[in-house]
């Protein structure tokens, strides 16, 4: 398992990671979320021994990564799929990994098959699409059959089949008892595959919890309702729940279930065209958690600011 304790990493005057503490436990997929520049990649680089922490520690199975003699047998990671020599073939790249960690050459063919790289493994990496590079990077991570896996944005550049494949792969690893840390900006993906989430913003820990708890933390049920008399319904509900106008004819109600909203509409004599519970999304939780901690926030354009949303 991965233990990050009081980790701080400064680049010059910039605090990329600030006193970060969390664990990645076996048997679960831990999603690692945060806006761009939040320090996710930096954290993973420190865990993998690539960058030196300014303070704090990051260990895998109780040891610093650079203390492990044959690390591929214990930790597999895909950090940056573009970071490899473009002039080497995929197979040669994997053979280097096997040679340097004393892993039998037959494993190279195993993982090439496992990630579906097939005959492309004999071509040079410079001709690979981003998706193929991701697969090659994942193959290298799997080479030593490690107990701990880290993936930085593994779905980047993958097509729909690839995304489904990696989703099942990651779930499978966790089911086998491995510890899996996966960073992603695709909240819907993380919601689908992660058991836990670690959310950071500006290098600091924002949340470290089970996905279910994070979703529950958003408050009671949320109901979407459409009616031509939205203003009337809004007034009728205002005392009982939080009501948000999401469109000219649409409201979102937090704190009441569909039956209560329907009854209230009936009592107010408001005709309904749509009434349904809205599923909580991790994206929403994530946005509310990280509000104010994004480093680079775009301003709405004049057009979108003017349309009243």
């Amino acid at each position: 398992m991965i233990s990050v304790r009081g980790l701080t990493k400064r680049y010059g005057g910039v605090r990329a990671v600030d006193d970060l503490t969390f664990d990645v436990v076996p048997g679960k997929v831990t999603g690692f979320l945060g806006p761009n520049g939040a320090g996710r990649s930096t954290t993973m680089r420190v865990v993998m021994g690539l960058d030196r922490p300014t303070a704090g520690t990051a260990t895998v199975g109780g040891r610093r990564y650079d203390e492990i003699a044959a690390p591929l047998r214990e930790v597999g990671a895909l950090l940056d799929a573009d970071a490899m020599h473009p002039g080497r073939t995929g197979r040669a790249h994997l053979r280097l990994a096997a040679l340097s960690n004393g892993i039998p050459r037959t494993r190279v063919d195993d993982v090439i098959d496992q990630v579906g790289l097939g005959p492309a493994a004999r071509r040079r990496v410079k001709g690979y699409s981003l998706g193929m590079r991701q697969r090659l990077g994942i193959a290298a991570a799997l080479l030593g059959d490690p107990r701990v896996l880290l993936f930085d944005e593994p779905m980047n550049g993958l097509d729909l089949d690839g995304v489904r494949w990696i989703r099942e792969l990651l779930r499978g690893f966790a089911a086998e008892g491995r510890a899996v840390l996966v960073s992603s900006h695709l909240m819907s993906e993380v919601q689908m595959i992660a058991d836990r989430v670690v959310v950071i913003g500006r290098g600091r820990l924002i949340a470290d919890a089970d996905v279910d708890d994070v979703l529950r933390g958003l408050g009671g049920p949320r109901v979407r309702v459409r009616t031509t008399c939205a203003s009337d319904l809004e007034r009728a509900l205002a005392d009982h729940a939080a009501v948000e106008r999401t469109g000219p004819d649409e409201l979102e109600v937090t704190g009441l279930d569909t039956a209560a909203v329907g009854d209230a509409a009936h009592a107010a004599g408001v005709p309904l065209h749509h009434l349904a519970e809205v599923e909580h999304s991790l994206e929403r939780a994530y946005l509310s958690l990280t509000a104010g901690s994004a480093d680079h926030q775009g301003r709405p354009t004049a057009a979108s600011a003017g349309d009243g949303r």
Binding site: G49, R73, M84, P86, L96, L99, S100, R107, G177
Partner: protein, 264 residues
């Protein structure tokens, strides 16, 4: 679950493995073959020209042996050795390949030892083979010049030292600069360009002689041809100077590899 057996690796095993990986890393990219091929073509081709001229009507120079061609072509081989060593060392840093490399070999001392050993030993060996080949090519054109064994050992030993020290210097500068262009310019400048430039200027400025004599390139010239910018140079002073340069570059490069973040 685990189908791969965990074995504990001693440092010796680790270094041996890493050396094998470095060897494979060197020869699985096309540029290595191109550099060796081009250097071989230039060295052997130049030797063939020398041989052809010596077998012409004017004949070989008096007292010439086949090893003269070896000494002359050592400087061509040196250029190839410097360039290949610099390129092989910096490729990981310019392509981002250092990220997977350090994931697979996180003990940087091990990587430093393996990389320096494999790159410098391989390029030196290639250089010595080419210099030997150049001498034999000339011998095949003009067998009468002969190739005395004693002189051959001396020539190849000098060439081997110069090529090895040059390769080590190039590896060190590659690790310091982490840039192919930076490493190439600095090592070629120190070894092949500056000594000649300073030799031109030193006619008017005496102190430049001392500067020139302290450069690794002057050591190379002295060790190969027995001539240098300063009359004070000896074989051992030239060897010491070149060794100090190589060691200093490796120490600086090693510290950069050991101490700083992987690719910043």
């Amino acid at each position: 679950m685990s189908t791969v057996r965990t074995v504990s690796a001693t440092s010796a095993v680790l270094i041996a493995r890493t050396c094998r990986a470095e060897w494979s890393r060197l020869w699985t990219v096309r540029s290595t073959w191109v550099f060796v091929g081009v250097t071989g073509f230039v060295v052997v081709g130049f030797a063939a020209l020398l041989g052809a001229e010596a077998s012409g009507p004017s004949g070989p120079p008096a007292d010439a042996t086949a090893w003269d061609a070896g000494r002359t072509t050592t400087m061509f081989a040196l250029f190839g050795v410097l360039a290949l060593s610099a390129l092989a060392t910096t490729a990981d840093h310019t392509t981002g390949g250092i990220v997977p490399t350090l994931q697979w070999t996180p003990r940087r001392t091990v990587l430093l030892v393996a990389r320096t050993t494999v790159v410098a030993a391989t390029t030196t060996a290639v250089g010595v083979v080419l210099v030997t080949a150049a001498s034999l090519v000339v011998l095949s054109f003009v067998p009468e010049v002969g190739a005395p064994i004693g002189e051959g050992v001396e020539t190849l030993a000098a060439a081997g030292f110069v090529l090895a020290a040059g390769a080590a210097l190039a590896v060190g500068l590659g690790l310091v600069t982490r840039s192919t262009a930076g490493a190439l310019v600095s090592v070629v400048g120190l070894v092949l360009v500056l000594p000649f430039l300073l030799a031109q200027l030193s006619v008017r400025h005496d102190w430049l002689v001392d500067v020139a004599a302290a450069l690794p390139g002057s050591s190379a010239l002295f060790l190969v041809f027995g001539e240098g910018p300063s009359d004070d140079m000896t074989t051992s002073s030239a060897r010491t100077t070149f060794t100090l340069w190589a060691v200093a570059a490796l120490v600086a490069g090693g510290l950069r590899l050991l101490r700083s973040d992987a690719d910043r």
